[in-house]
């Protein structure tokens, strides 16, 4: 992800806590079966994302395209093919009923909520910070944390190798060949060198890391130290307010028909 945006208070929330809270919200969302409530919570999370992720409006609108796509694609299947009693519209296999329509909206909002939660997290948290925090607050074993960090560092190298293979194929004229056989050949020509090269490189790096005692748990010191702060309380409070206010509004001012 691109971290070009400004730093906001969301960046300073403890990464482990942030991940934990968002996970809990994902589970909570499973038990929300009311379209109005789900919509309110989704709007609450979207507001947090829009106001405090620190990215420009243009960048966020660009990120919004997949959101709408997810909303339409998840809800449409349910709206068109779902079960229901009160028939609104029927055309061949497609039958839109009131129940399926409401459930489609619910599923759509839920998918959108998950996407918003995920983006809020990944746009405001650097992976390195998360793994350092996980080692300190959740006691994740350093061998796992450092492996993850090393592997994420290898992504640009993999991309570079991918381009190298593609250029090599272009030079040799394979790029234009078509048909099943060509697809099979290309699949093999890309995946095997990329995978075997990555495994060899990972093995070499791991041997070096073991030699440098990256696996040591007992006497570890950390370059980045993480604790808890006021911002964590604000973060928790925000979601409590969203959940409560959303519930209140859903009961007293429902926007969608029950």
């Amino acid at each position: 992800m691109n971290f070009a945006g400004a730093e906001t208070w969301l960046h300073k929330v403890n990464p482990s806590l942030k991940l934990g809270i968002l996970m809990v919200l994902c589970l909570v969302a499973l038990f929300i079966h009311d379209s109005n409530y789900m919509m309110n919570v989704t709007i609450g999370v979207l507001l947090l994302f829009l106001c405090f992720s620190g990215h420009s409006i243009k960048h966020m609108l660009f990120l919004f395209v997949p959101f709408c796509f997810i909303f339409i694609s998840t809800s449409s299947a349910m709206i068109f093919f779902g079960k229901g009693e009160t028939l609104w519209f029927k055309w061949g296999l497609i039958s839109v009923t009131e129940e399926s329509f409401m459930r489609g909206l619910l599923v759509g909002f839920r998918a959108m909520l998950f996407a918003a939660l995920g983006l809020t997290f990944s746009l405001t948290t650097r992976p390195v910070n998360l793994f350092y925090s996980l080692m300190q607050q959740v006691k994740l074993k350093p061998k796992y944390a450092y492996s993850f960090m090393a592997a994420l560092r290898l992504i640009p190298i993999m991309m570079e190798e991918f381009h190298m293979i593609r250029n090599a194929m272009k030079v040799r004229g394979f790029a234009r060949s078509t048909g099943i056989k060509a697809i099979y050949f290309k699949l093999k020509a890309y995946s095997i060198p990329l995978l075997s090269g990555s495994i060899r490189r990972a093995h070499r790096i791991a041997v070096a890391m073991e030699a440098k005692r990256f696996t040591d748990t007992a006497h570890r010191t950390y370059y980045y130290e993480y604790g808890f702060s006021r911002k964590d309380q604000v973060f928790i409070l925000y979601f409590i307010i969203v959940l409560l206010a959303g519930f209140y509004l859903a009961i007293h001012f429902p926007l969608l028909p029950k």
């Binding site: 779902g82 939660l117 095997i192 995978l195 990555s198 495994i199 490189r201 791991a206």
Partner: protein, 194 residues
Amino acid sequence: MKKGLKLTDILVTIVIAVAFGIVYILWGSIYYSVKPFGLHLDQLIYGMWFMAGPVAFLVLRKPGVALLAEIAAASGEFFLGSPWGLTVLLYGVVQGLFAELVFMAFKYKNFNLAIAVLAAIASCLGSVVMDFAYGEIAALSVWNLLLFLIARFIGSIFFAGVFAYYLVRVLEATGVTNLVRPVSSKEYAELDQK
């Protein structure tokens, strides 16, 4: 076998998984380009998302690798900005766990095509369980749901079972698997004879 995975095993697993994470992200756009055709054609290619676990296990042949690989692939996908957000993490854990249970049931001693297919089916089952909880697919009409399930199972057997198995077979030919697999008792016996 010594307890736990060594850093080497973990790093190799995660690197394989991250490579799949990149594929998963690209696969997402293919998935969405197939989706508008309707009739759950998209489910035929869903199986790709179960591949990391079986491939990592068949390469490394160690306990815990399949689970770790699926979690790592999911988090790689998550960090690269998956439109599904945090759900990929939860799905990844469940899919990896189901595949891992299959390998565990055979005591991590079986590495043939059948076990890969079984693990693929298990992962698929895991994803369906998650879908019942999240997507409320239970509310789809019966014919539509059946179509959905059949398409997904066929897709996962092909991608995560058959394709994963032959991919590792070809990888074996490159010799890279010898680096990371545990030494078998057969190899010790060969040393003894000399």
